[in-house]
Every structure is written in C-alpha cells, then in structure tokens.
Symmetry: C2
Subunit: 417 residues, 2 copies
C-alpha cells in the first residue's frame, strides 16, 4: 500500500493508557511509511482544523507517551448532532479530511465516538470522498459491545482494587477506637464495572471490601445498614466501594444532583459522603470517605500491564485494518482463555458498537447485591495482571511527557463549531 | 547488655511505612537477643493487657511488614488524661509493664504519643519501676519538633505530588470542552505540609498545581477566584490542591463542621466540594474534585524510598537508644545536606517534642499565598526521592501481609479503660 495520510483524534474521558494506543498507532503507521496527523481536542480540532503532524515526535517522545496518562493531543466532550439535524458539521469534517488528503480517520474513544466514526463514514460515502473510518476502543467504563474489555478499564480496575485494599488495612488498624467505616467512591455512571473491580481485593471470605454498592442494585438503606453493622460486629470495620451511579429505589441518584455534560449525562459526584451520612445517622459509626474521581483514571503509576498491552495492540491493529482497506470497524479484544489469560485482536463492525452499552451482567453480582461472584472474578482478574511502572526522575516524580507540536497551517476558512 | 523484654505499640493515624519501622525495630532487637512484645491497638492494648509476642513472626513476615501499609498491630486514638486527672491509667500501664517484665516501652506515633511516653516515664520513676520510654516518630502531618521530617510524611508527599501531576494531565486534556478546574483535597489539619508537597509537581512556571490552598493562609474568595480565572485564561485549566484544614478569614473551616475524634480534634472533610462550589458559583467553570483521605496515607504502592529508609532507621535507632540506657527520648532525623540529600539519626529529649507542633514556615509559602517557595522545594524534594514498590502477586495486587498472633495469657485482672 502506498503512503497515505491518517488522522488520529482522542475523544471523551481520558485513561491512563490512551496515549499508549496513540503511540502504538503512530509507530505502526510510521513504520509502514504513512503520515499521521492528529487533531487537537478530538473532533473539535477536526472541525476547527486544528491539526498537528506527528512526524516530528521523536522515538523518545513516543516512548514517553507510552507511559504518560491524560490525552496528549487533547480530548473533548463534543457530541455531533444527528446527520439530519446538523449535516453542516459532518460536511465540514469531510472538507477538512479532503483538504489534508486524509484517507483514514482513527477516532479513539467510546460509544459516542464509535457512533461519530460511523456517521462520518456514511456521509463521506454520500459525498463520494474515499474515507476509511476506524474507531479505536478506549473507555474506563468498560461498556463497549463486541470487545471483551476496553483499554483503560484494566488500569482503573487495578487502581481501585489496590486502593481499597490499602485503605482497608488503614481502617482495620484504626477501628478499635476510631474509624469503623470507610467509603470509596468510584466512577461508572450507568454500569458497575469499576465498582465490581474493587471486589478483586476481597480474596478470602470477610476480606474488604465487605460491601460494594452497584448502580445496578437500587440502594436499600435498611439492608445496607444491616450489612454494615454485621461487618463491623464480625470484623471490627467495614470497607465499602460505592459507584457514583448509585440510585435509590425511585431511580434517583444518591449524590446531589449536578450539572450535565455535553452528552446530556448528569455530572455526578458525592455518593461517598451521602453513603457515609447514612452510616453516621443510622448506625453512629465513625467514618471516613474518599472520592477518587480523576485520580483513578489518570493513575498511570499503577497501570495494569495487561491493560497497557491491550491499549498498544488496538493502536497497532487499527493501522492494520486501515491497510486492509476496512472501514466502519473497530479493533476488539477477543478472550481466548481466562487462566492463563490469552487474548487476540479481532475486529467488529461499528453498527454493532455505536450507541450500544455493555451492561454488567446480573450474574457478576452476588445474590445479596453487595459483592461479586466467582464468574465476575474470572472475568476481571486477568485485566489487572502485571505492573508497568513509568520511569521516575531524580525529582521523585514519573517522567511524563507533553508533546509540543505546532498547528499545521490552515487550508480552509475558519469554522466555528 | 543482657536479654530484655521490650514492648512496642502503634499510635494515631497510620502511615504507609509505620510497619517498616516496626519490622526494623523487631529485627534489631531480636538480633541483640531481646524479646519484643507488641500491644494490640496501641496504648489501649497495654491498658487492657492485650499483648502479643513478635518472636513468632517469621523473617518472611517481617519482610512483608516492611512493605505493608496500615498498622499491623492495630493503632488507636486514645488520649490519656493528665497525670493528676487520671493517675489510675498510668499506674495500670506500669502494672502491665511490671507484670510482663518490660524494661523499655517504644511508642510509635506523633505529638500525643511523645507526650504519653514522657508521662509514663515520669510515673514509672515515681513508682520506682525501672522503665525506659522511647518515642518513635511517625506522622504524615510532619509536625514533630526536633526532627527534620517525620517518617510517613515523605510517602504521603510523593502520593500527593504524583496524584496532582497525573490528574492535571487529565483535566488539561479535557479542558477545551469540559472540565476546567480540578480540586484535590489532602490531609493536614493544622499545618500545610502535605498541601505544600503538591507543589513539587509544579516544576516549571505555570505547571499544575497552579493553586495550593494552605491552612496557614485564610481563604479569600475574591483573590482565589481571580487566580483561578487567570490560570484558566492562561493555561486553559486550573489544578488546585486544597488542605482539609482550610479556613476563612473568621477562622471557620471551609468544610462542613464534622465530629470530633478522641483527642478533641475536629474531624474534617469536604473542603474540595466546598472549593469547587465556589468555582462553579462565582466563575461558572466545569469542575471535578477528589478527596484522597485514607488513600493518601495508605498508598504503600507509591511510597518514597527515602521515607522508607527513614522509617527503618528510626526503628533500628530506637533499639540502639534502649541499649544505651536512654529514656524519655526520640530518635530524630537530622539533615546534613539538601542536594545530594544526606541525613543521619540523632536523638532528642521528649520534653522538647511532646505537645510541640512544627508549623509550616511562612517563607515556605509564596508571597501570593498560592504556591511554595524555592526554600520549601529544597526541603521537600529529597523526601519523595526514590521508589520502593511492594512485590505484586499473580492476582495483580500487592502482597500485603496480616500477621496473626495469639494474645499472650493475661497476668493481671481485667481493666476497663
């Protein structure tokens, strides 16, 4: 295949390993003689023609990206409207691709990004512009269909399991005279994948976390308090992992109602203090709570080596799909066995992925609704395997990088999104 | 010196490296032929004669303790009243020491523990019981007098600096369309040592965190909002480290008033949401916030190797002090040079330490009150140097240990504290 120009963009919430995907994609494309442009701030940078050429990134910088969290090119939460409602934006995207002779668009994101990539590929067809659109999976929410798991999730899972394990040793040592209940709030708006990962810390019966509060299981204050009380009486303390998406029986979020993001998703936060307040009010136990928020999804220092390998593999596979002439597809992870964990990369059509949401199966949650099952453990365990510590500098901090690339000269008039 | 019986106890909030101190102390005493008992749950376990013999801890278990967070023997927040008010409790302590022929009491804690050790040593003198009392420093608050720094602090400092560095890369990548302000709440009730450590992440002008909110600097909403606005306009985002002890000009905590612990300290939490609410209300920026709470002081996975070395050294030095016949003293860390960092262990009398509090010097805080000075950096930098990752198991989690030791048979009647 002759040298082509590709365009890569990052979308949605970032992960500890999204830049590893970018680095692998750039390296693989570069090795095959292709040129890789990147958009600043995701699809917004495409619309606004804010593009950079990754050719100037050194090997050392690509190594650095491989272990740097955040989204090095900038990400965005910007939802394109439907093709009918806003054909103009889609046309602009195709104009930008045409102006820069982009033959393949790689969009590294979740459900919404897969949907965008699919729509762009359809409009390019309509406009007779030869464009391949390839979605590259990334989401800590682990809710993409067709793939065994999503790059980014394994590292967040490891962070959450390690954090609740460590904090539980703390509360355990304080519990005789002080804190008896610890609540860790984790992300996962609609699905309890991340909360479930906390359950990996509980390897023996009675181990922390004694309670996981899933968004899938309506919060029942009486049953919850009884479980906390039992744990404190039996073990001296109770460690709880609570999903930000926890709702009561009426479907209302336990956290205070917040603002909405560009996708119309309610912005949550504050489940941990709400749960802690229930503990204080109903049981009178001393409590502590933590909200890990962005820390969990940027903690590259405790990334999962397995997750990192996935992230690199989907980046390289995306280029292979491009070289094969595929479009409207996404590289996916296919699990071959749980133990030892073996996997391969396959691909799936975007119409099976866009706007689908992979829910946490009910049989991953224990019957009482407060823990995970063996089936869940078999699925989750391999995803946190292995460490991949970043290099640290002589200032005691990880050597994270920030590529500084000049914007390419514009070829088109300005466009205001 | 002939074989003696020592008693070790842990006090107050635990740290990622307090067990490393315990392991070093036990190893050093064992090598010299002494017997080391440990109290369960700190001084409470002494009062209640809940003691264990560490002789049965294997070398592998001591290695494990060296990399396990929390307080392996149980800690406590239990403040003995003054000698005049509650002579009975002090007498009981001496009775327990006498019953188990304890010649030296090692109390591993902070200010309150140094005070307890000092009072116990005085009462033992009064009662003509030959007892050495040695305080062993431990506190993430870094507020002990006479020592350059406190074991536990360096690891928390490293966690906070790494966490705000990572989260700032996250918010930086999201800021074009979404979150512009991120607030990380850290511990430090009365002194901003931990908050200051966040400043280590800012190595170039403009780097995150752009704002540190110290307990030493009254919160001025207008000046704060102006600084946030400037950072967002200049850098596209603003990363903030906020101390839990932040107060307004009237001296009121910004966090909602909470309960009090056994020492009468107000239990805080919730500064981050309070600060974020100010940002939202006054500036309208999208925000995220995290409260690291126990995670920061139990994150052994990202401990500072320098801090670990300090923790081990004070444990070993405490035994050396005991062998020299010292009492009412604490091994302290003396800094010999900043760069390269060189240090040695010395000792200081407890009356210079008990109930003193080492404040963060004003010249460690920048003139505008929102950052750290070069002087602070020279002091803090060495304390986060080096990594000491725990070993990880084939389940992807750190191999933390939990020693299971049987209580020694009681020699005294029950005592209810």
């Amino acid at each position: 295949m002759s040298a082509k120009t590709f365009l890569y963009a990052q979308s949605g919430g970032v992960t500890p390993v999204i830049n590893a995907t970018a680095a692998a994609l750039i390296r693989t494309a570069r090795a095959a003689g292709h040129r890789v442009l990147a958009a600043r701030d995701g699809i917004l940078g495409v619309l606004e023609e804010r593009l950079v050429d990754t050719a100037t990134l050194s090997d050392a910088m690509l190594d650095g990206l491989n272990h740097t969290p955040g989204g090095a090119f900038g990400s965005c939460r910007y939802k394109l409207k439907g093709l009918e409602d806003n054909r103009r934006e889609y046309e602009r995207l195709v104009e930008v691709f045409r102006a820069h002779q982009v033959s393949c668009f790689f969009y590294n994101g979740g459900n919404d990004s897969a949907d965008t990539a699919l729509k762009v590929s359809r409009l390019a067809d309509d406009l007779d512009y030869p464009l391949q659109c390839i979605a590259v999976p990334k989401t800590i929410d682990n809710d993409l269909a067709e793939t065994d798991n999503c790059p980014g999730f394994g590292s967040v899972a490891k962070y959450v399991a390690v954090s609740i394990l460590e904090a539980s040793l703390d509360v355990m040592s304080m519990s005789s005279t002080s804190t008896k209940v610890f609540v860790l709030e984790v992300m996962g708006r609609h699905a309890g994948w991340i909360a479930a990962a906390g359950g990996l810390a509980a390897r023996q019966p009675g181990d922390a976390p004694q309670i996981i509060l899933f968004p899938e299981i309506p919060f029942d204050q009486d049953r919850f308090c009884a479980a906390v009380k039992q744990s404190v009486e039996r073990h001296g303390y109770c460690a709880i992992v609570a999903s930000e998406g926890l709702r009561d029986a009426s479907g209302d979020f336990l956290s205070a109602a917040g603002s909405r993001d560009a996708f119309g998703h309610q912005q949550l936060g504050g489940v941990a203090p709400a749960v802690a307040a229930v503990v204080k009010r109903q049981l009178g136990y001393k409590y502590h709570w933590a909200v890990s928020d962005y820390l969990q999804r940027s903690a590259r220092h405790i990334a999962s080596a397995t997750d990192l390998a996935h992230a690199q593999a989907v980046g390289a596979a995306a280029v292979a799909l491009a070289e094969q002439g595929s479009s409207a597809v996404m590289p996916v992870i296919r699990r071959l066995s749980d133990q030892p964990y073996r996997w391969e990369i396959a691909s799936a059509p975007l119409d099976l992925i866009a706007n689908h949401e992979k829910k946490l199966p009910r049989d991953f949650i224990s019957e009482d609704g407060f823990g995970i099952t063996e089936k869940a453990r078999r699925y989750l365990q391999p995803l946190i395997l292995g460490e991949s510590f970043p290099p640290f500098g002589d200032d005691g901090l990880p050597r994270y990088v920030r590529p500084q690339l000049d914007l390419l000269p514009r070829k088109l008039p300005e466009f205001s999104a």
